[in-house]
Amino acid sequence: MIDKTRSSLEAALAGVPDGATIMVGGFGEAGLPNDLVDALIAQGAKDLVVVNNNAGQGERGVAALLATGRVRKIICSFPRNVDSQVFDNLYRSGKLELELVPQGTLVERIRAAGAGIGAFYTPTAFGTELARGKETRQINGRDFVLEFPLHADYALIKAEAADRWGNLVYRKTARNFGPVMAMAAKCTIAQVNRIVELGELDPEAIITPGIFVERVVRVAVAPTAVVTAGRK
């Protein structure tokens, strides 16, 4: 019997090696797998490359991971925030490499990795600093930039519910990067609020089929977080 559920966060994070590339889902407070990130900190892997839309906010989650000094590089679209002080300090002191990628290109590169696409041409960023040094091509009179897939060793994501096969459903805008990162990582670990019986999830509404998920762990549902407005 295939059972992808793990009994603890520790078990869910077992085996992450130094030097791993780790995708972390979430946009704003929605879909942040903070329990998994905390467990990754406890697990101790270092020299990591992190892929996330932001670069940590406040002192928890990705910010706390960055603060350990175990992240070598971050690939993201929007590192600067009113409360991104952990990132800001590391970046300004040259202790953290940054690869800045437009948000749509970031997620399409992740999808390309998951979908076996070798590279793709996007119109985004053509003629801007973020396309500097990149191959370009005119197609039907329009200018495009060549972008390559973004693979990961692990994806840490948050979903609403899972079954033992690893099928996932999400909740509202907490879906964001989760389904795509799950496709691009060799090992996807999902923290979920609920684990349900096989067959309980509507097969028409499963967003991430279990083929993309290796480990599932249930976490206590957090109290409603305070939302700070005005971030991106």
Partner: protein, 216 residues
């Protein structure tokens, strides 16, 4: 002559009045967000949020905040009946694929040829951050910029050529400003709906640019 600039609310209202019934619209972070509060009654306008919403509704009542239901500015919102959720790749497929009718963006500068600079001041010590700005700039059928026409120092933000780092090249079709609406056309900049009391000559002098008055 004397004139009063449009307030942010008036500007949002002026822009919103041009959004057609049934339009699919993305409102950028900052000033453009105000447009949501001024959508004309009697029109159904579909608001898109790049983090995976179509059919976004207004902010929730204080007691009804759901931290899993945020807009691209990471503020709590609601979903209209008929709205839908989707993941980021699908959301940016909508954007990049040209499915949005209108995207309203703020800007530091817009050039006479429709270039837009809105993501970086280019200052050496600044931490860069782009978010979805570059995707939105190339994606929507109509890129409208909403901004104050002049900087605090009184310099025009519509310029012959952007000095700030570009977000997109040749993409802006129209600028809604606190002083006038300005279309960016192959034939040049066409200004209209100047605030009462502002003459075309004064507007030209403020911007330092040649402005046309031809009928839209």
């Amino acid at each position: 002559m004397s004139y009063a600039k449009r307030s942010r609310e008036e500007l949002a209202q002026r822009l919103a009045s041009d959004i057609h019934d049934g339009a699919y619209v993305n409102l950028g972070i900052g000033l453009p967000t105000l447009v949501a509060d001024h959508l004309p009654a009697g029109r159904e306008i579909f608001l898109h949020s790049e983090n995976g919403i179509l059919g976004m509704g207004p902010a929730p009542a204080p007691g009804d905040v759901d931290t899993d239901l945020l807009n691209a500015g990471k503020q709590p919102v609601t979903l209209l009946p008929g709205g839908a959720f989707f993941h980021h790749a699908d959301s940016f497929a909508m954007i990049r694929g040209g499915h949005l009718d209108i995207c309203v963006l703020g800007a530091f500068q817009v050039s006479a040829s429709g270039d837009i600079a809105n993501w970086s001041t280019g200052e050496p010590e600044a931490i860069p951050a782009v978010g979805g700005a570059m995707d939105l700039a190339v994606g929507a059928k109509n890129i409208w910029v909403m901004m104050e026409l002049l900087t605090r120092k009184g310099e025009s933000k519509i310029v012959p050529r952007c000095t700030y780092p570009l977000t997109g090249v040749g993409v802006v079709k129209r600028v809604y400003s606190d002083l006038a609406v300005i279309d960016i056309t192959p034939g040049g900049l066409v200004a209209y709906d100047l605030v009462p009391g502002l003459s075309m000559e004064e507007l030209q002098s403020l911007t330092g640019l040649q402005l046309l008055t031809q009928a839209r």
